[in-house]
Every structure is written in C-alpha cells, then in structure tokens.
Symmetry: C2
Subunit: 227 residues, 2 copies
DNA sequence: GCAAAAGTGTTCCAGATACACCCATGA
DNA sequence: TCATGGGTGTATCTGGAACACTTTTGC
C-alpha cells in the first residue's frame, strides 16, 4: 500500500464520529509504519487513480479500520488541506471527509486486512495525533457543531425513532456542555426537522415519552454534488 | 501545459474577486482548448509535482491571466471539490482558493504566456461557466459574504485608508443590496477591526470625511496554517 | 410514596432592523 | 443657495439564555 507516486500526492482522511455511552468519539488508528510509528492518527490513505476520494475513503475504512460502511453516513462535502507530505518527495494535498456512524465497531469487518488497532476514542480524551491531525480534528468538530445547529446531521448518530432526551444527550456530547431542556426543545422544534411518531416509549419507571424522528431530508444545504 | 498524468489529477482553481466601479467582479478566462472550448471558466491549472497548490495558483494567475500577485491577497483556506475530470482518464480533485484583489488588471503582466482572454466580470452578469464552476463561484461568494461579517477580508478590496462610504459601498457590492448607513456604521465599529487615522478627506464639494483603516491583523480565524 | 424521566412558559437581554434630520464644503 | 456626501440616536423586533414546577409511570 505504501506505493510511490510521481505526481502530487493526494490522500484522503476520515473524521468519523460516533456516540458511545453518551460520549462523542472519533475513529483513530495507531500507525504501524513510519513516519509517526506507534502514534494515533485519523484513518487515511493514498487515493489510487481508479477511485474517487469518496470511494477511497470507504475502501480504507473497511480495510484499515474494519468498520461497516452500512452504518455510516459521510457528509458529502470534502475539505482540502495542503498537508505536510507523508512521502518526503513531492507535495501532498489531503482531502478530509466528515462521517457519522451508529453501531459501528472497529475491527469487526471480515475484509479488514491492514488493521492498525482501530479504536473509537472519546474526543474529551484525544491523544496526541500524528501529522496535523490535531488541527484537522478540530476543524471537523467545529464543522459538526455548526451543521448540528441547523441541519439533521445528528440523525445518523441516533436510532430512527428517539426521545427528546436522547436527542439532547447527543447534542450535549457534541457541544461538550449541558443544555437547558426547555430551550433545547423549543429550538429543535423551531428547526422543523422533527416529526412526532405515533408511538411512545414505555421502558422504565417513569412517564412515557413521545418518540420523534427526523423528516426525510428535503434539501441538504451541505450538498455539493459534483459529478 | 496539457500534460498527461498517471495518477489522480489534482488541479487548482482561483476565485479572484475585485471591485470595479463599485461592483464586485470575478476573474474569468475564456477557454482556448477543449473541453469547453470558448466557454468562460475560473482560471485553473494542473498542480505540478514540484509546487504546492498555493504556488501553482500564483503561477497560473501570472501566466494565464497576466495579473500581478502583488495586489492580491489569497485567503489561506483551500476547499476541495471532487471535480469532473478535465482529462477523461482518471479521477480529479480540485483545490479552490478565494482571492481578493485591488488594482489588478488582467493581461498586463509581462510573464503572461498563455493568456485566454482574462476578464473581470461583474458577478451580477455571470455568463454560463464551464465544468462545475458555477457552483464553485457560488460557494466562494457565500464564503466571502460569511467572512466579511466578522473579519477584515474586505481590507484587500480597498485602499489602505478609506471612508465609511467606501467601506459601505464595498459591502453593498458583496451582498448585492443596499445597507442602512447608521446601522452599518454601528456594526462595523462594534467589530473593532477599524481605527480612525489622523487624516480627513478633502476631495469634493461636501463635508470632509474621517479616514479609517483596518487594524493590523491580530488573529485570522480563517487561518489554517499547514506546513 | 418515591424515584426517574416527561413535559411545559415567562422574563430578560443582546443584537439586528427601521427610520429622518442637520452639517460642512465647493461650486 | 444648492448639491453632495458626512455624520448622528431612538424605538422596535427577534432570537437566545436563564430559570422551577407538575405529570406519569414502575417499583
């Protein structure tokens, strides 16, 4: 996989988030090669000529982190970073995607063939990262926050139907702070992204809760749909 | 210049804005080759292996549009687009930069060697563009608007010292609508990006105006400084 | 009856918008 | 004196933030 390129190097990195125990985590690998041997990093890969950056990302996620892309939604807007070259010869650009998962388990995919200790690491406990990945993670997290404020991106982190408490917990994980229940409810409803289902929870020693779901997406303002 | 690449194609495009007669314009070229022969497009180029995307951009601006990069400020945050390949073989990624100019004149640089009718075209009169450049321009313009609201990007479009009217005219050109003088003044001052100079204009048949300038930039929150 | 989550309104503040008149100068 | 741009303040609206109690259920 560590091929040599003659022309500018193009790599793709994924910032894949998931909720684990009401905490926001990000998918990292531990590098098995130089440079940065042993350090934590975002899963990334060179983009081969016969794949789009998007396809390369999905391929590397399966093969290097062993997750299933079925349970993953990748936000269709890549960001570019002039990156410090991995290969000392030549110049590199990294294309970064943000992804959101639910129920993904690193290392469980049968096609993983190059796994490098993939783990879901809480963002509150981020280790030192290789390359400029620290900055890239910060960028991705800021972007996730901004999108959460006016789109339905959070949907992918939750089950199809959910209670307001579950939804609020997800937002609290993303923003890293507690939110007021009444204000949160008002704001979410004002976004008009939610619709109540006909069902209620009946799961515990407490009052049942109305279940909600996100509307089918009408317009994703993050879309960027190039051929 | 139309070399052939074996590996994923990496190109750079520039969305270069400038004020002309109180109108916001963008630098376009008219393609001299297939595909899209004769159509208008953003100036763009393959990135050769020995240059960064940023360097390639500056090079192509001089050589293809004949402007001087002295009078240009390029916003240091590239955006990536999975782009339709220029070369039918292989896959392409475009890195887009936003730039702001003042006093640049297409075609005037002595090193222009491959000029393709470069023009500053008012964004209110955008022609149909090649590739997906229509979408890229929209993206760049939205970004420029967003940045204008809380940073000093507009500084590059203006002389060092300027009156409030000049500043307001620049904002009106960017947003494509008229603004209230008093509210504009209040908002600009609240941003704390301006400082009055000791000078006043004395240029016409009207009351002299206080001249302002932007502070030296302290923190550019758009910065993204990778090696 | 008590623990645990569900549900619900009002007040306050800050920032944005709407809006109209007098001032200084050159011609 | 008039045309031109310079300069100023107040009322209103809107969205966000702060804040506490009652309801329903299982045990």
């Amino acid at each position: 996989m560590e091929e040599r390129f003659e022309f500018p190097i193009l790599t793709v990195d994924g910032a894949i988030f998931q909720l684990v125990d009401d905490e926001l985590t990000i998918l990292l690998i531990q590098r098995a090669f130089e440079p940065f041997l042993g350090e934590w990093a975002l899963p990334g890969e060179y983009i081969p000529k016969d794949r789009s950056s998007r396809q390369a990302l999905e391929h590397l996620l399966v093969h290097k982190t062993g997750i299933s892309t079925k349970q993953l939604r990748i936000i269709d807007q890549p960001y570019a970073f002039d990156s410090p070259a991995r290969d000392p010869r030549g110049y590199a650009v990294t294309v970064m995607y943000i992804g959101l998962g639910r129920g993904i388990t690193p290392g469980m995919h049968p096609h993983m063939d190059n796994g490098q200790n993939p783990q879901l690491v809480p963002i509150s406990k981020l280790p030192k990262l290789a390359y400029d990945h620290q900055t890239i993670v910060k960028f991705a997290l800021d972007r996730l926050k901004a999108l959460s404020l006016h789109t339905a991106v959070v949907a992918t982190l939750l089950p199809k139907d959910f209670t307001f408490l579950q939804l609020q917990t997800a937002y609290e994980a993303i923003f890293g702070k507690t939110l007021d229940k009444r204000n949160f409810r008002k704001k979410m409803l004002s976004l008009q992204l939610l619709e109540p289902t006909s069902a209620m929870t009946k799961d515990g020693a407490h009052r049942p809760a109305q279940l909600y779901r996100f509307h089918a997406p009408k317009s994703t303002d993050t879309a960027n749909s190039f051929a």
